[in-house]
Symmetry: C2
DNA sequence: TTTAAATTTGTAATAATTACAATTAGATTT
DNA sequence: AAATCTAATTGTAATTATTACAAATTTAAA
């Protein structure tokens, strides 16, 4: 599907900037920060403003087209993959990895039964990634 | 156990400020922010500096006497309960609730087998809390 | 008591994020 | 196609959270 239509499917009105940002998110599964996205797209869209990147990501999240990760205390990261999956933050290189999700159906039921209306699930793990662990030798 | 000895048990050298901050954490299971702690202790320790609160919490986390929560994108929160448990952030009132943890032994093994050395587990849920849901009627 | 080391403090710097008004672009109407 | 309206983008300034760091204070040791 073209990104144009992909955005429409989430109820987001496409624009040059929005398409470029969503494209970046879908093609770079690196969980980029606002800064990452801004710097990467500056070349193609020289007039791009960082405020637009903020606005656009907020819009994406509101429409469910992206998810915000708060795993890294230094800044927020974004993920174009909105399916349920876990994240691993390496404390050494600060890269964020995708990991398979734990099943949550039962827990969701439990929590909802107790009156907690869950809208977002985040499974975060922190430690040392395989690549950094290998380097330690 | 006195907080003095409690800190020692984590290898943290006690001081007036450190005892006051740890006491606050242990007595207020509200997952306070730096600001919360600072404002709460200002009365008792008028000379308290916010930098000290930052330094102290960093020290506690390094020694395993507290854990840092990155559930709220606006700021970092701290928890004196370092046992494994889940957290729920209400998007309306911004309060953070404790919830029972999902078992993680199997997954830890899996991840470790794949070379991810897990040091921290965070189970975050976001949505509307029972109290705010009740108010909506 | 003197000295040394660690802790605390206050200020200044940095970095992330938000507010907001002005500009620009896109769509609609005439 | 020109004029009008609306929405999106931009740039700047303000705000907020956090960190850096040197000076002052406290605590422990000699």
């Amino acid at each position: 599907m073209k990104t144009y239509d992909y955005l429409l499917s989430y109820g987001v009105k496409p624009s040059v900037q929005r398409i470029a940002i969503m494209d970046y998110l879908l093609e770079h599964r690196t969980h980029p920060s606002i800064e990452d996205i801004y710097l990467a797209l500056c070349d193609d869209i020289p007039t791009l403003s960082k405020t637009t990147v903020y606005n656009t990501l907020k819009l994406f999240v509101e429409h469910g087209a992206a998810q915000m990760l708060t795993i890294d205390e230094r800044n927020v990261n974004y993920d174009g993959d909105v399916s349920l999956h876990a994240h691993f933050l390496c404390k050494k290189c600060n890269k964020i990895y995708d990991l398979p999700a734990a099943q949550e159906e039962e827990r969701m039921e439990q929590f909802n039964m107790n009156g907690f209306a869950v809208q977002e699930i985040h499974q975060y793990y922190k430690g040392i990634c395989p690549s950094c662990a290998a380097e330690e030798e």
